[in-house]
């Protein structure tokens, strides 16, 4: 052998420049971002002055606020910012038109408007929430500067503000989309490919052997995270890429099938594990045998989705024959019933995985013209308590500041109110808002200092726009560079805002130290007000109280599965669950007991809710006999009660109702085929309910009939 043992054991020493490449790549991305931001900033300023807009500073500020590394994010943010600005300006016109001369009602109405918008922002994710924030503070930006002295100029003020903001957005959008753009589309593509590969890999791994419950729960967490991430990305990418927009419905369907398939897979897996733990594991083994062909089809390494779908298709076709064959080998009525439940679940899973793989294949092809089914909208789970707190906090802050303005008569107090609005809106949806605002305030203060240095030591000696750019550039560059560093981003944003805001660049630059200190003081007061308001009434996001509420909301989803209108219910149910769980686990330490319990509940809710939905669908298609219908209703009611407030009593009631309904369904099996299917769904619900390894364990009372099933196999 030619290979020497030394070179076989230790890899050749990396050349000194090996890490350099990665470092330079990262730095290049950062500096391109800085370049885009700076270019957009100064170009906007120049254009605003050419167009003789009254406050070029506002337009320049806009570019700072919407800047982002990825162009899709900028475009999405810009789109919603346009919406928010227009609505906010209309709101300001309305409010001023109602109370042009009375200050007190004006301030109250203004506070309510802003608070309402902030509350709306907490009810939305992504940039939709941003549109709400904007609608709130644009009203303040438009109305507050003119209301005290000349309310008649409100219309001009609105038009000027809109023009400035739109100009800033337009320039930023064009520059970030055309000049060395970083495409969000690539991120989305990677996310889809990753989700697909991970999910198939997980199924593959699970088919090989038993997956412990914790791993299953972790997998569920990953599924939820992937589903929510994909939806978030999708909602932004559509602004960047026309092709992605044309595909948007496909993507939604892909995500929907992903969630459906993973829920079924988990139900199936828990069921088999449970049956294997019984004293007589033959049913579980039979189901495992039934599994085999699918496992082999998926096992086959790296193939394209089309090829994989073609392999799964014959498996699905051959399933009924295989079920019949294996069913004969099982003795005992109860075992056959369990086997039927598992076989039904497996049948559904095979169908869903085929659809999922097929949807993945469609994503790589040309956009197919088919629009056969309605769009699968991802529904978010919201909690109104958070919105209420945001409303109260903003309204109180605004009223206190408004009262301060009215009492003190300080001209700059309007400024305080304005900036406080901006910050309490921007951070209303963030956990730890007080700390974030504090950081921002720190950055803002440094920005003010830099603004002073820049203004009175540098700019005072300069004349003309080119020299303004030259003088401002060294101070400005720091801002976007800090923003692109994750640790410094908030600080950097504060710095840039402070610098740009205090300079208030306009065609006729005034060097007036009195104004400078007056404004600087008012800005810092506004930051302080925002910090204090966030500290006194912190956003509920991430608090244990809200988590408990959201958990209760998640469990109450079973009620919606039991009672809500059926149309599109399954996807609504699954996406709401995912969104809720995503919000809940985002703020618990991963791997803690609490997080494990949350995941376990989420799984139980998913399993039971889905079974209930399928049960209702079957009964709706083909009405069952009246007594059976009544029994099914009783089961649904008992289950939704149990999930709303879990207790031993509730568990017993649900179990008794289930037993009764199943007994009745068994007797009717021969007469009506629907009774057989109802029996399958009920069986699935019951198996999940009596699973002593699940979150149900503390509520389970071993009765006579379930005693043999709760016996552990070991």
């Amino acid at each position: 052998m030619a290979i020497s043992p030394v070179s076989a054991t230790t890899p050749p020493a990396a050349p000194w420049y090996a890490g350099m490449r990665g470092f330079l790549k990262g730095e290049a991305d950062t500096w391109l971002f800085v370049l885009r931001t700076t270019l957009a900033f100064f170009l906007t300023g120049w254009l605003a002055m050419r167009f003789q807009l009254p406050q070029p500073g506002t337009a320049m500020m806009t570019t700072v606020i919407v800047m982002h590394r990825q162009s899709g994010m900028v475009l999405a943010k810009a789109f919603y910012r346009v919406l928010g600005t227009l609505i906010g300006a209309a709101g300001a016109l309305l409010i001023v038109a109602l109370f042009p001369q009375q200050r007190e009602p004006f301030l109250v109405l203004m506070a309510l408007w802003i608070a309402g918008c902030t509350a709306g922002a907490t009810l939305h994710r992504n940039f939709k929430s941003y549109a709400f924030v904007l609608a709130g503070y644009t009203a303040a930006i438009v109305a507050l500067p003119v209301i005290a002295s000349h309310p008649g100029q409100i219309f001009d003020s609105a038009v000027a503000r809109i023009s400035e903001v739109l100009l800033g957005l337009l320039v930023t959008a064009v520059i970030s989309d055309t000049l060395f753009p970083v495409r969000l589309r690539d991120t989305l593509r990677a996310a889809v490919a990753n989700q697909y590969a991970e999910f198939l890999g997980f199924i593959r791994g699970a088919l090989l052997g038993e997956v412990p419950r914790e791993k299953m729960e972790q997998a569920h967490l990953r599924v939820v995270r992937d589903a929510v991430t994909l939806e978030d990305l999708r909602s932004s990418v559509i602004f960047e890429d026309p092709e992605a927009r044309a595909r948007s419905a496909h993507l939604q369907r892909f995500n929907q099938r992903f969630m459906a398939a993973s829920t079924t897979f988990q139900s199936l897996h828990h069921l088999i594990n449970r049956l294997l733990r019984q004293a007589d594991p033959s049913t579980g083994q039979a189901l495992q045998a039934l599994y085999q062909p699918l496992g082999q089809a998926i096992q086959s390494g790296e193939v394209s989705p089309e090829q994989l779908a073609a392999k799964i298709h014959p498996v699905r076709k051959g399933l009924p024959a295989r079920i019949a064959l294996l069913r004969e080998g099982i003795g005992g009525g109860a075992n056959v019933e369990d086997f039927d439940v598992g076989a039904e679940l497996l049948r559904r899973f095979v169908k869903e995985i085929e659809q999922y793989v097929h949807a993945r294949g469609q994503l790589t092809q040309q956009v197919a013209p088919s629009q056969e089914d309605a769009r699968a909208h991802f529904v978010r789970g919201n909690d109104y308590a958070g919105a209420f707190v945001a409303f109260a906090r903003t309204a109180i802050t605004m009223l206190v500041l408004g009262a301060f303005w009215a009492a003190s008569g300080w001209a700059m107090a309007a400024n305080v109110m304005l900036l406080a609005t901006i910050f309490s809106g921007l951070f209303a949806t963030v956990p730890n808002a007080a700390r974030m605002t504090g950081k921002l305030a720190g950055g803002y203060f440094i920005g003010l200092v830099a603004g002073y240095v820049c203004d009175y030591w540098v700019l005072a000696r300069m004349d003309g726009y080119a020299l303004l750019v030259a003088g401002l550039l060294p101070f400005f560059l720091l801002g976007p560079y800090m923003v692109s560093r994750p640790k410094l981003s908030i600080f950097g944003l504060g710095y840039t805002m402070g610098l740009v805001n205090i300079l208030a660049i306009s065609s006729l630059h005034s060097f007036d130290p009195t104004r400078f200190f007056n404004e600087g003081t008012s800005h810092m007061l506004a930051m302080g007000a925002a910090v204090v308001s966030f500290a006194l009434m912190p956003p509920l996001v991430g608090t244990a109280w809200l988590r408990r509420r959201q958990m209760a909301g998640l469990r109450a989803q079973v009620r919606s599965a039991a009672q809500a209108p059926l149309r599109g219910l399954q996807h609504r149910f699954e996406s709401t669950n995912s969104d809720l769980l995503h919000q809940i686990v985002a703020h618990t330490a991963p791997g803690s007991d609490e997080s494990r319990e949350q995941l376990a509940w989420a799984l139980a809710v998913n399993e039971t809710g889905r079974a209930l939905i399928h049960l209702r669908q079957d009964v709706a298609h083909e009405p069952a006999s009246t007594p059976l219908h009544a029994h099914v209703d009783a089961v649904v009611l008992a289950l939704s009660d149990f999930f709303a407030s879990p207790s031993v009593d509730g568990w017993q009631r649900a179990e008794r109702a289930l037993e009764a309904a199943m007994d009745l369904a068994r007797t009717q099996c021969g007469q009506a085929p629907v009774a057989g299917r109802v029996l399958l769904h009920l069986g699935l619900v019951r198996l999940a309910l009596v699973d002593d390894r699940s979150v149900m364990a503390p509520y389970i009372v071993p009765s006579d009939s379930s005693a043999e099933e709760t016996v552990d196999a070991h």
Partner: protein, 65 residues
């Protein structure tokens, strides 16, 4: 086409109207091109779209003056 349009007693620039119109036009064009995958044949789709916008907006703008 008038340079300024009076609406409810205020004058709106005709260019603004054209701007909105061209935006809608581009949106329609985008959805067709996206569905058919036309932008796959373009080196820099975003730049191309911007250029189309400038051409359309400039062309329509000439109607005003």
């Amino acid at each position: 086409m008038p340079i300024e349009i009076a609406f409810a007693g205020t004058l709106f620039p005709g260019l603004l109207l054209l701007f909105v119109l061209v935006c809608v036009l581009l949106w329609a064009l985008d959805s067709v091109a996206g569905r058919r995958g036309w932008y796959r044949h373009v080196w820099h789709p975003a730049l191309f779209r911007t250029a189309i916008f400038v051409c359309l907006f400039g062309g329509f703008g000439l109607l005003l003056f």
